[in-house]
Subunit: 234 residues, 2 copies
DNA sequence: TTTATTAAGTGTAAAAAATACATTTAATAA
DNA sequence: TTATTAAATGTATTTTTTACACTTAATAAA
């Protein structure tokens, strides 16, 4: 049973704790983040990350899930804690420490729910509007983290539909890392790893010829992780 | 001017914020962490990380610095935020979210102040006693972070005296990564990078022959960072 | 039905990086 | 003078990374 805050830690300053989410989505070769136009003070009318306050009965991870679900209607989304921001005057309305998270979602599965409750819009990571507080800093840090993590863990796939083509996967990595990759080397490496499995279907959106669809191979990844083999995506 | 918490965010739950420090030190081929025996409730008499509460007028970074100074007497120490821990019942005395930091210090420069205020002791990273709350989790995460960061940034040097020998540096990396390194390859790589500068002095503690002392080359590192060259320690 | 168009798909050679490995040297102590 | 000990040194092999150009499948246009 949890005792009252005053039990042992008297005289300590209670400070509000917020959670803000950098939500990444990928579409048409662009890495995007989802922003909302604030309909409340402070910062009414300005662009910001989706956020909320940590409740007494939830962990930070749960709060991030709740906040993400509120905006996108999605569950079972990749979410990772990023960093705690604590400048004393970061939020002029109160002393608020914000713990930033980043999420990776497949834009296609989320667009229905979006903008029902709040005015929300996707922005290219290369063209982020002015954001309130330290939210820009959060976005920059989240992008760097995504760049680093996507090299050694299969988190990029969270941004794609279950079935994807190799050119799509390559374009995604090019968007994440903001660089061009050689298509022969990219294909060679990813196939050699055994981490994606070819289907008999083709996707013909991108060309007349069409490109074969693949799925991520969860078992193979588990086996490699288990055996301690270090993995190199890209 | 900061307004009262009630200004806009009414009805939000105030939660205490703590800062806990995983303090690394290196001595005699061992990577160690500094622990205190708690002289207060809850957990009186148990081993724990050094910690404290975030005050209303300080950032998390400042709080971590303050806490570290309290125990070691040191300033200008390498400190980095690690992760926020928020299990609802992690601290039975109250709802406390703890933001963990890790610090790297040169043991030699800190030993005077130590244990004056609190009972504190160094433990090998391979032999950590039972810790309160989730402090063991914090230590494990901090070690992993140190392993990763020490490969691409010169943070290992924070654990050594200003002047060090190449065998000492190698031993340090071996302790951090818990693996043996080839001394010819290690020496070759670190010298080739230009990141350490040879002195005319020798350190004769380790052998009759003595090993030449080196210092970290801050300018060279700045130049490489500036030019965007990716750096590989070890 | 032929031809043009377009992105998908394919292999090899060269360069760079990482690894494995054994002997000599400098200083002190016996 | 000799023995001892850790420091210092270079090369060959393997592995990984990079650079690079033509063919193929399908559709649309002539």
């Amino acid at each position: 049973m949890q005792k009252s805050i005053a039990q042992f830690y008297t005289q300590e300053t209670p400070i509000l704790i917020a959670v803000d989410c950098v939500i990444f989505g990928y579409q048409e070769g662009q890495l995007n983040i989802l922003l909302i136009k604030r309909n409340f003070e402070p910062g009414l009318g300005q662009w910001s990350l989706m956020g909320g306050f940590l409740q007494g009965n939830e962990t930070l991870d749960w709060a991030a899930k709740r906040i993400l679900h509120q905006l996108t209607g999605l569950d079972n989304v990749y979410l990772e804690q990023l960093h705690a921001y604590s400048e004393v005057a970061r939020d002029k309305a109160a002393r608020v420490v914000s713990v930033a998270y980043y999420a990776l979602i497949d834009i296609a599965t989320s667009n229905e729910q979006l903008t029902k409750t709040q005015e929300a819009a996707w922005f290219s990571i290369n063209n982020i509007p002015k954001l309130i507080f330290d939210h820009r800093e959060m976005c920059d840090k989240a992008w760097k983290r995504l760049q680093r993590k996507s090299l050694s863990q299969p988190i990029g796939f969270e941004l794609l539909p279950t079935k994807f083509t190799i050119p799509q996967l390559q374009q995604l990595y090019e968007a994440i890392h903001n660089e061009n990759l050689d298509k022969r080397n990219f294909r060679k490496n990813i196939l050699l790893s055994g981490l994606i499995t070819k289907l008999e279907e083709k996707n013909k959106e991108g060309s007349k010829k069409g490109a074969f669809l693949y799925v991520f191979n969860t078992e193979k990844y588990a086996a490699l992780t288990e055996s301690g083999t270090s993995i190199q995506f890209k």
